[in-house]
Symmetry: C2
Subunit: 200 residues, 2 copies
């Protein structure tokens, strides 16, 4: 029933994760009612995206200039490296304002089921970057999932071999501000086993 051009757009939008068929149709209809300038900007932005945005050759983060701003910022520490699985995770760490070192983005996690191994996450490059005495600490900020555990285990082994003195993982526990009745049992078990003394 939709005119072909609208149907085609709805089908293209429907290929995005989290966009169902109904939502795609609604978005397509909304775009049809949008100003021409908006459609031109949005279309050009989508087409030009991959031309402008690349991976930083040092940290594999996203950037329009290489190396990226996080790798070149002189106010950040050079001797601490934070390893993250993907870009949203990197931004979550950065948003915490609790880290001022450099990053390394894996763009994935080791997962035999998905055919993702050490090469896909560029483990060699990480080891090369972190090794050689330049890095005092590597923080593994990987998700608390089986893939996150496996990847962390593998990388810790490689980084120890390469002589990195201190390899750490972010703490797992109850999230801030949540009602404890809603905390899942794995997080609660972690929070209990990693409990620490309260200062007098």
């Amino acid at each position: 029933l939709l005119p072909p051009a609208l149907d085609e757009l709805a089908r293209l939008l429907g290929r995005l994760r989290g966009v169902g068929q109904k939502t795609a149709q609604r978005l397509a209809l909304q775009l049809l009612d949008s100003p021409d300038e908006y459609l031109t900007s949005l279309g050009a932005s989508i087409v030009g995206l991959r031309v402008r945005v690349r991976r930083c050759s040092q940290c594999r983060g996203l950037t329009e200039q290489d190396p990226c701003l996080l790798c070149t910022d002189p106010r950040r520490r050079d001797d601490v490296l934070c390893v993250v699985a993907d870009i949203p995770d990197q931004y979550a760490v950065e948003a915490s304002a609790a880290f001022d070192g450099r990053y390394f983005v894996l763009h994935g996690l080791i997962s035999p089921l998905d055919d993702t191994g050490p090469d896909e996450i560029d483990a060699d490059r990480l080891v090369e970057r972190a090794g050689g005495g330049r890095t005092a600490e590597v923080i593994l900020a990987l998700p608390p999932s089986p893939e996150g555990e496996a990847t962390g285990h593998y990388l810790a082994g490689r980084l120890h071999e390469a002589g990195v003195a201190r390899i750490t993982r972010i703490a797992c526990g109850v999230p801030h501000g949540v009602e404890l009745g809603f905390v899942d049992r794995v997080s609660m078990a972690h929070a209990l086993s990693r409990r620490h003394e309260v200062d007098k």
Copy 2:
């Protein structure tokens, strides 16, 4: 923190209704990971949308050829006209397969607060189309809201004046398949006041 091109795309996507800032960023990152052909198709589809899709000069529905397929389909009745507020409503009526006449799309409802009056919904054109004895029935398939009521009331008056014999409204009641405990009280009141005899 996002590279400018990605930030710009996220901001453009975030202007769509129902797309929050987090979702817009997630979509922008997903687009960055999409194949070039997909991005080219999607961008071209968005830019070309308004060039290809127009409003039908007869029913104001969406179409790439004028008049639209629904207006020219010889298997549809010419003497019954269904008035709908917008395109999703038209498609909902069409999806019911319970209507085989022609449509008229208002693209809005009369709403003094939003500065929408009879001109914005092209009431004169509807009256001209439905009047003159050609149309036996006009079905007002308008939403059960204050604006829908006001628009229906206004249009019914104009259509009666123009000599349309039968003007009807779609029934309001409890939706099919819902648990009655979840039905809102207005729908339940409608369903009760419009109750009908059960055949023996």
